[in-house]
Amino acid sequence: MARTAIPGGLSARRAWRSATLADRRPETAQAVTLVLDVPDWPGHVPGQHVDVRLTSEDGYRATRSYSVAAPTDGDALELTVQRVPDGEVSTFLCDDLRRGDTVEVRGPLGGWFVWRPGQPGPVLLVAGGSGVVPLMSMLRARPAGSASPFRLVYSARSPEDLLYREELARRAAENDGVEVGLVFTRSAPEGDRRGVGRLRPEDLTGHGWSVDDAPTCYVCGPTGFVESAAAHLVALGHPPERIRTERFGPSGP
């Protein structure tokens, strides 16, 4: 087997690392961004995730996957967690984890659902609910003035459920090749011309984006959302090999 230069060595990648909560920022009423301090974090590629492990006093353990929300920034690792009703791990992370508390993380994980800065060509990001998290990491990693246009189509229940709302509006307003299209499934802002409803094929073709631009497509969110969004993309003529998907699990949007 060839030797590869992996920061920290192979064992570092496999090991569970202690991570301390350095900061927490509410994103919506139901979601929070956690900034973890992970000593000697080896860095990650936008789109990758980590496994988070919680251990109770009596040794009980629960492990879940969470996408990294921002590009590598030293030992700081940002995750955004959406509260799942009665969810064992998400409710704890959203409600109970305090600054200075310790969890364990393993990663970075997954080399398929990634966008590497410098990768050429347009990018179409399609997010359902918390599926925007790894896509935000890609968007945030896009260098200013990049020749690769990005379009994010983001489906959420309502404007109040949008993660990163202000930052997305700001990035879209910069006229730097980033477009954001919002889709609301339950309630839309007053005067919204699209109205409410699940993602439709025309949501993916607007703003002059077509199959001919040959974008790489990244689709992420709850399983049902990913299935239907990917099916729309294929029906529109996007070649399956340019569509990458990540399913977060079974749930509503």
Binding site: A2, R3, R13, R14, V45, G111, T223, G224
Partner: protein, 106 residues
Amino acid sequence: MNNESAADAAFDGNVMAGPLSEVFAVDITTAQGRCRGCGTTSVIATLRVYGPDPGLVGRCPGCDDVLVRIVRTPDAVWLDLAGLTSLRVAVPAGVAGVPASSGGDA
């Protein structure tokens, strides 16, 4: 016999990255696996994955056959790859016999 699917797989192969990293030193989710049943070659990250409990079951996107099973017990990882005839793992290019010196991604 009617074998229609009434429920979709909850996850895709991306979710196996963590458990597989306990066993393999390279990221197996980017490897290509060939299905013993139907011959379809798929990137492991694109398998249709059921679970996570009692274990992760990765099925062929072509024929739904079981390609990968992973169970994590308190002290072991159990791994079954018997549904694959081969696994192609890309490694950084190097001159034959000479280990490549770079190319490792995080």
